[in-house]
Symmetry: C3
Subunit: 436 residues, 3 copies
């Protein structure tokens, strides 16, 4: 297995990812309901997702799958019958999981149900009310200021009743049953970075990687945040021990630098792989684990403690557009999406390529020259790097150091080390310590 | 057990501590003798100390309890019969453990027995001669310079003969027989910071804590330095394994910042507790262990290696007033004494409150909302901190992390973490891993 | 065992080392051949070296002992019969291991066989061709520029045929069969720093140390680089486990600071000993292990993984004179050679003196005063240091800390700590944990 990114043209992949986001952007998603179903159906044009439906009321660990929410229309009409707040213009206008309501209220009666961002008077906030029975509208401060006193007709044509929770799963077998998990949340309505960026990248990663022969099996989850990962974990406990590495994808399209949040373990191979790859790709940040965030919270709960980290650009909550109407199609960029995509390929390349070798000539160096391995590759500087990589691999091929260890200690790129190891292995100088 | 400092009014405790020092200051103490007895008798007004007498000649490990020393009077009279050096003005004037002597000497004969501080001409040094038979006087350089040639009558009306070594002990049982040891040296004569500050604080800590129900039993020792701790350890070897944590108190009343010297182990719980508490209380310093200092030397000798550190303000030897007459009642401050007292309560609070929990819902997060634990406490910022604390406690409740570990990793105060843990425990989400 | 450097007069030893280099400088050495034999014969005037001959064709691990190379003369004559390149002026002029050749060639035909350093037009490079059948001359760029077109007579009167590989070995028994290995390469022709500096120092170290009673046995190897250490290791596998510590000596006479390269283990006792000694001797550098360098590569191969580091001044490849005619007798200095020699004695002193003790009074401090150990040595500051050293040794005498551990933790010199330990041991306060 080598160079997973070969054949990837960044302009092309950037455009594909962006177009995927454009297509999914108008759909009103929530943690349940037809928006998720429609989203998964469209993703099936890219990858053969399996769609799972888990009935409302199903107990999943300490939680219960909620009632299903759907909304067809929602508005606030003024006394002249004009829609002054209109779901058809943006699905952010209705508080997600609002109960159905149809009533006539004075502005004063309505006000407690209206949510704005006074600091950002042009933006509409995104609000949810999953676990308390209520309803509300989100609007810009400017819209609110323009509302006249008087009576308003308000309508939320929603339903909140037993149904199911919907999620998508795509399992793509590799040589081993050991798995790499890629997970993203699909529960946010018209918000581009959070998290159509993650959804689009997961889908295209799946499409790309499943065409390539790999060591690891891959599992892609398109799930509603929190309740989705809890539901999947509760229903698939027997599969959990096979998850060797994993990444939660979120907020990968904005202009910020790549930011990785370590797994709870902190030094899982995925943590080390990312720490190895990101410095080669420009500015970056590594955050320690914390139990607040996206679905890594569940994968890293103490009963699972998986080697699952999270890759983002600007993390949620640290960009002002977060959870507002300003997280729109102008907030994400094809080139940033493409760069995130390539970073993920490089990370997975390290996970795929890591091996532990045992030298077949552990006493003194083997003679590289007689095998044509000395000064045998490329130009001089390149060749010296390759020879150093071979010497390092041989020196640490004691069955206790993997190639990632070698790359870290030698200060060389994983790719250089892996190629040196493969060359040595092909000449009979190394054997794999264990088949992973 | 919560908030040990509740009910403490710092002005009040500062004044009490200072008054205790004022009362004990004039007494001439040494490593044996009536000065220690009188000191302990007065402390019995505050706490029900047991006074132990260990006969001279008793073998204690490699040492022998020395003869008992008492002094009634001491002076140097000039030819006009005037007391030019007078024990009645300051007990520092006689070298501690001086043999009895009564003689007439020329100034030249006297000079080798006179000790001054030429750099500090107004100050009288404090000198001892425990283990060699000699005698001497301490005086200011100014006094020495004023001495005229001629004959002097010198008298030290002391006795040095078989008697006993006296120390005070107060044991205050808690729920467990595991102990926290608080030790201070009571062997210095009229020196305020070193160590009436430690003596007063130990006595009032005992008074305060023994009224409160606690997990740990508390043992307070009021002992002469070195020989006292050696004597106690030799006579109480069967109790030593119960000492789980300990602190030596010394020099706690001067104007300097709090300074903690780690135990030999370096990462004992008391070391970590202090390292957690001090940064919350202002400027501080943490010193690594060294085998030089006060009685932590004995508690941390390799055959015991107890988790015993030392809390001071400016450590002994690092303030010019150390072991001189300038370490007087003006050198210690009620507010500094009170702040030292509060710091000790906070440290003990951590020791008392530390627990290791096991999550009862280790797989995925439990649903805090349905238990009213979400946004359930106080204002928003406060509430977010509490929620983070709950998430951290749950995430690390794997039976391998104590609350101190959680506080360190989360960067939250121990109190916040402890409260979060108690709340979760009360809702059945946590169980203690082991009863300590 | 104490102060290995006693009796060493640095001017004298510096002059001896320099004169040794002067004597060996003209000899044309290679990885085999009479130059090595002659070098070893001369060293036998200083130490009773055993000379080993290993036949060409002998298999040593993955390598084969090569044919033996000797050269009697070599030149390039111009059309006037003048030797424009002349082996008799410098043995660097012939590429080491050149095949015999005698021919007439035009300058253009000759050119691919000529090697210069265009950046250093006055210097002649040093080149080898051990493992490919070829021939060549090295000359200065200035010499090359002066060559006129025309026909040249070229002659290399060498032989390359079955013979043997020659190396020197000197084993000097100590109380224990455990060994310290000192190794240096003897394969370079007229190059002073690389590595006659190492050869001379190894020889005089051997002479000096073998006169002193020591704990460790010493083994000195004078071997051709790479193939020599591989040959020795292959023929002496049963002795390898006795090598407890080792040092490769190279480039020890130039004006640079002392530079130590750690063993592969990184924290072997020799690594710690050097890290302790060098800061006391002036500017220095510690490098992490890398599998590139001199014979430490073989001693630290994963099948041996010995505690063998390398001591140099400016490491090979980091001074411009490296592997050129400018590494001549003016490039090495008697005072630098002497300082390297003394540093090695200090390092070996730590290895020799390190012990692990167990306190015979582990509970509380023993009473030093009654044994005359308190204030018993020298002036006050000195005495305080000695008392601190005694307290540290006693405190850490738990059978788990060696004197190097004590010196590191106490921040005291090894010598101070060792003396304190010996004094305590002589008073019955310490016993050795294990006889090494």
């Amino acid at each position: 297995m080598c160079d997973l990114a070969s054949g990837i043209e960044t302009n092309t992949i950037g455009r594909q990812l962006y177009e995927c986001i454009v297509e999914l952007y108008p759909i009103c998603r929530s943690i349940t309901g037809d928006g998720v179903r429609e989203t998964l159906r469209r993703l099936q044009d890219t990858i053969p997702l399996t769609v799972h439906e888990v009935p409302s009321g199903t107990e999943v660990f300490d939680w219960t799958v909620p009632r299903e929410w759907n909304v067809r229309d929602a508005y606030v009409k003024n006394s002249r019958g004009e829609r002054v707040i209109d779901f058809r213009r943006s699905n952010l206008h209705v508080v997600n999981y609002s109960m159905p309501v149809h009533a006539r209220l004075s502005l004063e009666e309505l006000r407690p149900h209206l949510f704005t961002l006074p600091d950002k008077p042009e933006w509409v906030p995104y609000r949810t009310s999953y676990y308390s029975d209520s309803w509300g509208f989100c609007l810009s401060q400017k819209q609110l200021d323009a509302l006249e006193n008087g009576e308003y007709e308000i309508c939320i044509d929603s339903s909140l009743k037993p149904g199911s929770l919907t999620y998508g799963e795509y399992y793509c077998p590799g040589e081993s049953r050991d798995e790499i998990l890629i997970s993203c949340h699909v529960c946010h309505p018209s918000l581009a970075n959070d998290n159509l960026s993650g959804v689009a990248i997961a889908a295209y990663l799946a499409q790309h990687l499943c065409r390539i022969s790999r060591r690891y099996s891959l599992r892609f989850l398109f799930i509603p945040g929190t309740i989705g990962s809890i539901t999947w974990l509760a229903r698939n406990q027997e599969k959990v021990p096979r998850i060797r590495h994993g990444l939660v994808l979120a907020c990968l399209g904005d202009g910020g630098r790549l930011t990785y949040k370590r797994s709870r373990r902190g030094d899982a191979l995925v943590d080390r792989a990312v720490h190895h790859v990101l410095p080669q790709l420009g500015d970056y940040e590594i955050q320690e684990f914390s139990p607040y965030g996206y679905d890594e919270r569940q994968f890293c709960s103490p009963g699972f403690n998986l080697g699952v980290g999270r890759l983002s650009r600007t993390p949620h909550g640290r960009f002002p557009e977060y959870h507002t109407s300003a997280d729109d199609l102008g907030f994400v960029h094809p080139d940033q999406l493409a760069a995130s995509f390539v970073a993920l390929l490089k990370i997975i390349e390290v996970l795929e390529g890591d091996r532990t070798y045992v030298s077949q000539n552990p006493k003194c160096e083997p003679q590289l020259g007689k095998r044509g391995l000395y000064h045998s590759i490329g130009g001089l500087a390149h060749s010296l790097t390759n020879e150093m990589a071979m010497l390092w691999v041989l020196n640490l091929a004691d069955g206790e150091h993997s190639l990632v260890d070698v790359a870290e200690r030698a200060g060389l790129s994983f790719e250089t080390v892996r190629r040196a190891a493969e060359s040595l292995r092909d000449h009979g100088l190394l054997k794999e310590a264990r088949v992973a």
